[in-house]
Amino acid sequence: MSLGYLGSYAAVLALFVVGVAIVAGALFANRMLRPTRPTPDKLATYECGVDPVGEGWAQSQVRYYVFTYLYVIFAVDAVFLFPWATVFAAPGFGMTTLVEMFVFLGFIALGILYGWRKRVLTWA
């Protein structure tokens, strides 16, 4: 079955809508069927039976930021590997394209090397 470009993405969209409808439908049916009798005790955050004190803490260590940033770097890296992988073996590209990609990877590897030397990658 051939749908064409937009037709094939319409199928993706239909699947997405069905997925959302199933999740929303399940939660909605749950809400319709269950009894709702909230008390302050039921709404309290449960932590091993001990009453919570104060507000939630979401502040985290700054060193996690490097790991998030490394993830961004690798994501950008991978994104450029896809188009490169489709063309570098094609006629008219060859060795030059291969070297170009390794120059790109080399620059990024320098950053990883720097982080490694500064012991960012170890868990202290």
Partner: protein
């Protein structure tokens, strides 16, 4: 470039594009007006998602999925971590408005006006017919590695600089000389 078809009878594709654009603009307005910082990051997901939809409708498949992978995936995670590194306000913050609000709105409107003027003036009635597969990974690859190698290599230096900057900023035990 060929002659443009009439604007008076938009195709379904054009209507979907306009609707996605409206979603992107509306979600972007919510990003800057919401009182909850984490919600701003989540509205940004909607904005980027709508933008990815726009790219898909324009047959720029690869760019659309890169938008989802990099912006919806990585950049929003980076933003949420950025929020978590601060006092991490969960819930409503009363002090999110700054006194620069009118100035910022003015700058944003002026930037939008400049961009719209440039696009309208630059392209006028020029029309490029959309071709399925014109934005595939292979096409992008041959374009990048044939014509745009230097920006591609410059990008690696930019990433390197940002990575080293992030490492230096997040390690309090690395000090400058002197």
């Amino acid at each position: 470039m060929t002659d443009a078809p009439s604007y008076l009878s938009p195709t379904g594709q054009e209507i979907v594009f306009l609707l996605l654009g409206a979603v992107a603009v509306g979600a972007a307005l919510l990003v800057v007006t919401t009182r909850q910082l984490v919600h701003a990051a989540l509205w940004l997901v909607v904005t980027f998602g709508a933008l990815a939809g726009c790219y898909l409708v324009l047959t720029a498949e690869f760019v659309a999925w890169v938008q989802v992978l990099i912006y919806v995936g990585a950049i929003v995670v980076l933003l949420l971590f950025g929020i978590m590194l601060t006092r991490a306000p969960i819930g409503r913050s009363a002090d999110l408005d700054s006194g620069n609000r009118p100035a910022a709105a003015l700058v944003a409107l002026a930037t939008a006006a400049v961009l719209v003027t440039v696009v309208v003036d630059g392209f006028r009635t020029a029309y490029a017919p959309l071709r399925a597969g014109g934005g595939s990974a292979g096409e992008i690859g041959s374009s990048v590695f044939r014509n745009w190698v230097l920006p591609f290599e410059a990008l690696s230096v930019l990433l390197l600089a940002a990575l080293i900057g992030a490492i230096v900023l997040s390690r309090t035990d690395i000090r400058g000389r002197g």
